[in-house]
């Protein structure tokens, strides 16, 4: 099953379960979604539940907030994360705050799906990641789906939970293959140890998890170490327990993210480790992130602007050698 099919399945099952679940966004209905995530659903659930909206992101999220107030469980799709900037007022001032400001009188069971990241040569206005902004907003749950199984379970959880959830997807993952473990009781707020290891903890999320896994064999060979790879899964709240347990064991932290380095999400994880795990750290933590530039169109420039399996391996090996790891 593909990642986008897993998302589709999660939508399908929750829509079948509860008439209050509705999906809205640009081209989500008749067209089937620009990444085909909602394909086939309009035939099953009709146009009142697969709502094709105009190109008006502020309203997409703002309407979803109102639908949730009115008793529905809207799942809003933003076609690409960059366009969500138009909806930031609704996301931050409304979606994240109404429950709190009303002392719980208003409840907002809603999800905003966010395809994001550097895809292939879409240039600066179509290549961004906003987890650093959204995970910093109190009142939002922020999940990041790196694989098929998590995508399925976490999206169902997000839709059925009575709180506002930002659900981040990576545009290059839609055709990723995987299996759903239907029997598993997956807690979407817990981090996932993708690979156990004992010398270096590599923390990541979303597409970078795959890139880290590609880099690991080379790193292990060159540095003669064993790496533990952790997928954060939930970017807010963060499962610090899993991170702490790993760092107690390895004493070394590498944080990998695709987004720009300055102010990137990884700064939160590294600063947490510096504050809370200082005495466990045997070496300076390493942050691997994108360059502090808008993403250029040219393919070579684009690839040079973000971490790749090669650059991840290279940076970790250099760092490891420098610090005698």
């Amino acid at each position: 099953m593909l990642y986008r099919e897993a998302l589709n399945k999660a939508l399908d099952e929750t829509m079948a379960l509860d008439d209050n679940v509705v999906v809205l966004g640009e081209d989500v209905g008749l067209y089937g979604g620009s990444y085909r995530v909602t394909e086939g659903l309009v035939a099953k659930y009709g146009e009142t539940r697969l709502i094709d909206t105009p190109i008006a992101e502020l309203s997409i999220v703002g309407n979803a907030v109102g639908m949730a107030i009115g008793g529905l469980r809207p799942v809003a799709e933003i076609m690409t994360a960059n366009f969500a900037l138009l909806a930031f007022d609704q996301i931050i001032n409304h979606m994240a705050k109404l429950h709190y400001m009303s002392a719980g009188k208003i409840t907002l069971p809603m999800v905003v799906r966010f395809p994001q990241g550097v895809s292939k040569q879409l240039a600066a206005q179509h290549s961004e990641s906003y987890e650093q902004m959204l995970a910093a907003v109190p009142g939002l749950i922020v999940l990041a789906a790196s694989d098929v199984n998590y995508a399925y379970h976490a999206l169902k959880y997000a839709i059925l939970r009575d709180d506002p959830v930002i659900f981040i997807e990576h545009e290059l993952l839609y055709n990723k293959k995987g299996e759903i473990d239907f029997a598993a009781k997956l807690d979407p707020l817990k981090a996932r140890v993708v690979k156990a290891g004992k010398d270096v903890t590599i923390v990541s999320y979303l597409k970078m998890v795959d890139d880290v896994m590609k880099a690991v064999p080379l790193i292990e060979e060159k540095l003669k170490v064993s790496c533990e790879v952790i997928d954060l899964c939930s970017l807010n709240p963060v499962d610090y327990e899993t991170l702490a347990a790993s760092l107690e064991k390895t004493g070394r932290l590498v944080m990998v993210e695709e987004d720009h380095r300055t102010g990137g999400y990884g700064a939160q994880i590294v600063s947490w480790a510096a504050e809370q795990m200082f005495y466990a750290l045997d070496a300076p933590p390493l942050r691997i992130a994108g360059e502090d530039i808008p993403i250029p169109y040219n393919r070579q420039l684009e690839l040079a602007s973000i971490p790749t399996p090669e650059s991840i391996a290279g940076e970790i090996i250099t760092w490891g050698e420098k610090h005698g790891i």
Binding site: V22, T48, I51, T53, P54, A56, L58, S59, V61, G62, N63, A64, V65, G66, M67, A68, I69, G70, G71, L72, P74, D89, Q90, N93, H94, L98, H99, Y100, M101, S102, A103, G104, K105, I106, T107, L108, P109, P138, G139, I141, R161, D162, D163, L189, N236, P237
Partner: protein, 323 residues
């Protein structure tokens, strides 16, 4: 038609509203209330009559909503306590003057982002239509909100989807110190809705006219025709908020505007047309004043929320432990 009982109800709530606002101002000056306090004095006809007439539907409003909340049925005590920031406030002290919410009275704020609540009202209207609920939704906003993208997107979507939504524009001709005609090409903001839906205009200083217009509007929504736009011209007597000196309006302009006082107008109608005695009116006024006094007492004597309460209500599920 407006009968005696209804007129008395409107009058009572308008007087209550005005006294409430004066009391709030007083306690702001004394430091019991803080933040931005936007008084609705002068605009009571609209705030009360629109709420009463739209009784069955859902309402979304702005930061200038004390009187509306009370006309909806929220108790003056719970509103004043909220202004005082107390535990017993309608938002338990978390929201303050600009953020009154009470879904049990189908009143959803209380939003401090100009125009920000309009898309929410659109979404709620969608939900109501989906649920087959015919009462519809009313969204109240100022002239200042009609220049923002949220408003325009909402006109288009509500019309495209034929949603049961009443756009109620409270045009008091000013957004803080900026006169509407300096930032829009005309004074009548209903013009902007014309391509999308039928528009109506009403004298917002005339409670009975407002009541009748909104009642008509609700019937229109109930009949499934889609959205409607109602513009009410009003005048606020005070500055934009208590912190605003109102220096951009001349004494003449203020005097002219106060000549149309909505409470006086309703009073005259009650005395002269409905044959209600001035003694009866005085009884209502006294009851309103007593209610306001009681609200102030209640607020003043209510406890502050405990410090740990600030961590409550971040999420609905599992409280803080869930995260």
């Amino acid at each position: 038609m407006i009968d005696k009982l209804l007129a008395e109800d409107l009058y009572y709530h308008m007087v209550l509203g005005r006294q409430f606002e004066y009391a709030a101002k007083e306690h702001y000056m004394q430091g019991e209330i803080s933040g931005f306090l936007h008084l609705d004095i002068g605009q009571e006809a609209l705030s009360v009559a629109a709420m009463k007439a739209f009784e069955k539907g859902d309402v979304f409003s702005t930061y200038r909503e004390h009187i509306m909340a009370m006309a909806r049925g929220v108790s003056p005590k719970a509103v004043m306590a909220e202004l005082f920031g107390r535990q017993t406030g309608v938002s338990e002290g978390k929201g303050g003057s600009m953020h009154l919410f009470d879904p049990s009275h189908f009143f959803y704020g209380g939003d401090a982002i100009v125009g920000g609540h309009i898309p929410n009202a659109v979404g709620c209207a969608y939900a109501r239509k989906y649920q087959g609920n015919q009462s519809g939704v009313m969204v109240v906003f100022g002239d200042g909100a009609t220049n923002g993208g949220a408003f325009f997107e909402s006109l288009n979507i509500a019309a495209a989807q034929k949603l049961p939504l009443l756009f109620l524009c409270e045009n008091n001709r000013y957004a803080i110190g900026t006169k509407i005609t300096r930032v829009a090409p005309f004074e009548k903001q209903a013009n902007k809705a014309e391509p999308y839906m039928p528009t109506m205009e009403v004298d917002g200083m005339d409670a009975i006219a407002v009541y009748e217009a909104v009642q008509k509007a609700q019937h229109y929504l109930e009949e499934g025709h889609g959205p409607l736009f109602l513009e009410a011209f009003t005048c606020r007597y005070e500055g934009h908020s208590v912190a605003d000196a109102n220096s951009y309006r001349s004494p003449q302009e203020m005097a002219l505007c106060k000549q149309q006082d909505p409470i006086e107008k309703l009073k005259m109608h009650m005395l002269n047309v409905l044959g209600i005695s001035s003694a009866q009116l005085e009884t209502l006024e006294k009851r309103a004043q007593a209610e306001v006094d009681a609200a102030v007492n209640f607020a003043a004597q209510s406890p502050q929320p405990p410090l740990e309460a600030r961590f409550d209500h971040l999420f609905a599920e599992g409280g803080n432990d869930a995260v």
